[in-house]
């Protein structure tokens, strides 16, 4: 079942406020001297400008046929060089090792368990060329924010309800139609552990897309990891 389908229908509106991440991923793609791959590419919001700015193909992988359908339309309209493929980030394969693999917009949090994430990390590590980079961002769980938002209805950008389940480190996002997707948040140490077991190394941890240093007040993990070599 495509749990993302109801979100695909409203995804342009849902993601409209998020534009700050694009220059960050574009900058990384500019520095890549080989294939560039986006996981959870969705509607290709990020992949389209990345391919346009670097003037090269971006391979985009997503598990949701409905999202890919939206993505195909957007790519066609933009005339961008984005190749969309259906696939799961836990077991994707590439023909050629990548110089950059990235997952924007917290989508790494859609895979539920630590084991799932380890598989993603290991697939990424196996798919990168030596010196290649893996970049993603995820929110820092903040109990103040959770307390404020838990159970509330938000009108923007698309009406939805939020539910926080700390026992399962899970946030549920429910649309008016009842459709729900979940995010499973992770701590800094979990991320570091995942990077470690996959044989990657931390190149940078920023606290925002303007590349400010990550510190005790940061609300977002903006990671850049690297495959040794």
């Amino acid at each position: 079942m495509d749990v993302y389908a109801p979100f695909a229908a409203v995804y342009e509106d849902w993601s409209a406020p998020m534009t700050e991440d694009v220059p960050h991923y574009v900058a990384l793609a500019r520095e890549a001297d080989g294939p560039v791959v986006e996981l959870a590419v969705g509607t290709a919001r990020v992949a389209i400008p990345v391919s346009e700015v670097i003037g090269r193909r971006v391979i985009g992988i997503d598990v949701s046929p409905a999202m890919l359908e939206k993505g195909r339309r957007a790519v066609g309209e933009a005339g961008a060089d984005v190749e969309l493929r259906e696939g799961d980030m836990r077991d994707f394969e590439l023909e050629e090792p990548a110089a950059l693999i990235y997952i924007p917009y917290r989508s790494f949090l859609h895979v539920p368990t630590w084991a799932d994430r380890r598989r993603v990390m290991e697939r990424v590590a196996a798919s990168l060329r030596p010196g290649g980079r893996f970049a993603w961002n995820a929110f820092v769980f903040d109990h103040h924010i959770a307390h404020r938002l838990d159970g509330t209805r938000q009108e923007e950008p698309v009406p939805h309800k939020l539910r926080y389940v700390p026992a399962e480190n899970r946030t549920d996002i429910t649309l008016d139609s009842g459709a729900t997707i979940s995010l499973w948040w992770a701590t800094k140490n979990e991320w570091l552990g995942l990077i470690d077991v996959a044989g990657l190394e931390v190149e940078a941890l920023y606290g925002g897309f303007d590349r400010r240093p990550f510190d005790e007040t940061s609300t977002e993990y903006v990671w850049v990891a690297r495959k040794p070599g």
Partner: protein
């Protein structure tokens, strides 16, 4: 840069220098864009209208030296203080001076003028002077990157002549003159108030001016996520120095 300081008129930004950061708190989308441009070009870069360092400080934090020019001593003072707080003051070279005659002898690969600062230029000769001056700062093939806007009718109707609380206790009022294409922007808040006059142009006129000033327009984006410009309110020019 005492030479230029001496002949500068007081800036409308001086009285609101301490108010500026809280006022512009919600404006963050442009920062990663300009930081990325600066990293791509390499330092030093020149930022015209550097203000309180909203963009220059993260740029310096990303390891790129910035020569920042602003006509407001008050804004530069805030910038200096903030940069010192986060430990990047060594990477900032702040100079008081005019957008149209920046006190910069260096030749660089990137000149930026973020957040609509060129709208402070009142007329055609002033714009041409400013763009020509920016070109002078560039090495061969160097780039000028800036963003400006032209308002939509509904935006004018929605805001014209009304005090709007933009941030808590900070009010802003826009008085638009569509015929003259000017905007009188007033700001008042705790400890300061000011009024400034801005003048806008449609994108194609900026394009013409850039060509006239010796640039080739490489890109026009409609926002900081590199979407192509398709006639919206905001536009971002990437112009390359022609030799």
């Amino acid at each position: 840069m005492g030479r230029s300081e001496a002949r500068l008129d007081p800036s409308p930004y001086d009285p609101i220098a301490e108010l500026y950061d809280p006022w512009s708190r919600s404006v963050t989308e442009d920062v990663p864009f300009y930081v990325a441009e600066a990293r791509k070009a390499g330092g030093p870069v020149v930022e015209l209208g550097v203000g309180t360092g909203r963009i220059a400080i993260p740029t310096a934090g990303a390891g790129v030296d910035v020569i920042g020019v602003d006509s407001s001593a008050g804004m530069l003072e805030v910038c200096r203080r903030r940069a010192a707080e986060v430990g990047v003051l060594d990477h900032l070279d702040l100079r008081q001076g005019d957008l149209s005659a920046p006190p910069v002898e260096e030749r660089v690969r990137l000149v930026t003028c973020p957040f609509r600062a060129y709208l402070h230029l009142p007329d055609e000769p002033a714009r041409l002077r400013a763009l020509t001056a920016a070109r002078e700062l560039l090495v061969s093939g160097g780039r000028l990157v800036f963003d400006v806007f032209a308002p939509r009718r509904d935006d004018i109707e929605e805001t014209d002549g009304r005090w709007i609380e933009r941030e808590p206790e900070i009010f802003e009022r826009a008085d638009w003159d569509e015929e003259a294409r000017t905007l009188t922007l007033s700001l008042r808040g705790p400890g300061g108030e000011s009024t400034m006059r801005l003048a806008w142009l449609p994108a194609q006129e900026w394009r013409r001016l850039l060509v006239e000033a010796g640039f080739e327009v490489e890109r026009v984006y409609g926002w900081f996520d590199y979407r192509p410009y398709r006639g919206g309110e905001d536009f971002v020019f990437v112009a390359r120095r022609r030799d």
